[in-house]
Amino acid sequence: MKVLVPVKRVIDYNVKARVKADQTGVDLANVKMSMNPFCEIAVEEAVRQKEKGVATEVVAVSIGPAQAQETLRTALAMGADRAILIQTDQDPEPLAVAKLLAAIIGEESPDVVIMGKQAIDGDNNATGQMLAALLDWPQATFANSVELSAGNAKVGREVDGGIQTIDVTLPAIITADLRLNEPRYASLPNILKAKKKPLDMKEAASLGVDTAPRLKVVKVTEPPKRGGGIKVENAADLVTNLKTAGVL
């Protein structure tokens, strides 16, 4: 079984995003970039499926600038077999990303796609579902458990209030939620080995896909700051304040 894992290079999740003074976006110059945390979980899941003998090949794909090669090398160091970079200097919207991935899937014919449920920059939580729609494949989003077998996948999904379990016919799209697994740290020998694994480069334009943005960013601003609060002396003082504020 062949598994395709899309990964995204984003601002490191420990770095606080700062809005640019001219309100055109978030300042990413000289900021630490890493693999999106949900993508790491997806790579880990694919690699575990290979270690269990269920998956035979894990292909990592990224869409982004030349620096996204580093993100793909991370995926290779975690255990992916090979990687493809679809190079673009634009920041394509989820629909465009889904269309580019659909084109790659047309070439690669994977049995299943495992990807993160959301990127922590745009916070859209949309690409996996859109990709499933474009391919007319079933989708199992927000996975917290995955059992792959020939022809189908049983997926436990995190829903409001609990867990829903569904069984999807392969090929299918699975999106990873936070508690699906804990991603490994790549070992030094594996990082070195990853440098020799194949990494193909393609130009996004060569895939013949409409990636024109549908949304115009008018401005990006800082959220309103909360007014300064006060420290209270003790619990009784706290209750008095809460009564005055009208919330008790």
Binding site: A17, I120, D123, D160, I230
Partner: protein, 314 residues
């Protein structure tokens, strides 16, 4: 222009996030219809018809819709969209599952988790875990939007819209529902609660979390939340998690106990009206967003708070 709102419900009752999404929809157009896609959900449709400002309610029913399967909901909504210019869905785990699928089938962008309607094609949405707000203008003919319900006031009751049946589509042929395990609780639901009491990693164990947080939540009639650290450590179940990757809440009162206030937690609760923080570390970032901070070990502060609440007649 006409707008369709997809109702949030559990086949038995209509959720408040629907009322809030109607408010967002009414900012786009006065012609707002509601779709209830479910199974045995007639009572939900009737409740939806009572929301003020709603023109009519469409009811589509099948087993696959009752299970909320994304393919099934998409199959109902896409043909309906010939009669609408926008479709709005509350950004619950359900809505987030099917809405992007609808958008891609219509070949349009999804505008995710809006918190403000500027005009019929311009919206504000949080990005980078709420550390920035992005104003976007859509050039698509049809808008597919998810709504962060906590950012909008609930539409009132008093409507008398009729309920019409509509086609149930062809279900989800490639997806089989296996089961659903929901946590049963007498407490209010976290996403819509007026008061939320949350515990953090300081609790140290699941037993301690329950011993400290549960009685306080019961006394306040509050829902229970938790930080990601507490959930990851197994002190609280998954669906308690408040934060960027969990639930986003905006109650009247949010009480954070033993929570340091990581960026990812703040993203999920900083729009609460009043925030209370109890933490023994005076430098914890949670105090920067708290209206009332009590620098104290929760082990002494929470029992004292229980006593003070009792003295205040709670």
């Amino acid at each position: 222009m006409a707008v369709l709102v997809i109702a949030d419900h559990d086949n038995a009752s209509l959720k408040d996030s629907t009322h809030k999404t109607v408010t967002a929809a009414l900012a786009l157009s006065s012609d707002v219809d509601i779709l209830v896609a479910g199974s045995g959900a007639k009572a939900v449709a009737e409740a939806a018809g009572k929301i003020a400002g709603v023109r009519k309610v469409l009811l589509a029913e099948s087993d696959a819709l009752g299970q909320g399967l994304a393919e099934a909901v998409t199959a109902v909504v896409v043909p309906l969209m010939s009669g609408y210019d926008a479709v709005l869905t509350p950004a619950t785990s359900q809505g987030k599952n099917f809405s992007p699928r609808i958008a891609a089938k219509l070949d349009v962008a999804q505008i995710s988790e809006i918190v403000e309607v500027v005009d019929a094609s311009t919206f504000v949405r949080p990005i980078y875990a709420g550390n920035a707000l992005e104003t976007v203008q859509s050039s698509d003919a049809k808008k597919v939007i998810t709504v962060r319900a906590t950012a909008f006031k609930a539409a009132g009751e008093g409507g008398s819209a009729s309920v019409e049946s509509t086609g149930a589509g062809d279900g989800a042929p490639k997806t089989k529902f296996v089961d659903q395990q929901l946590v049963k609780s007498a407490r209010p639901e976290l996403a819509g609660a007026k008061i939320v009491v949350s515990g953090g990693r300081a609790m140290g164990s699941a037993e301690e979390f329950q011993r400290v947080i549960d009685p306080l939540a019961d006394k306040l009639g509050a829902a229970i939340g938790a930080s990601r650290a507490a959930v990851d450590a197994g002190y609280a179940p998954n669906d308690y998690q408040v934060g960027q990757t969990g639930k986003v809440v905006a109650p009247e009162l949010y009480v954070a106990i033993g929570i340091s206030g990581a960026i990812q937690h703040l993203a999920g609760m900083k729009d609460s009206k009043i925030i209370v923080a109890i933490n023994k570390d005076a430098d914890a970032p949670i105090f920067q967003v708290a209206d009332f901070g009590l620098v104290s070990d929760y082990k002494t502060a929470v029992p004292e708070l229980m006593d003070a609440l009792a003295a205040a007649g709670k």
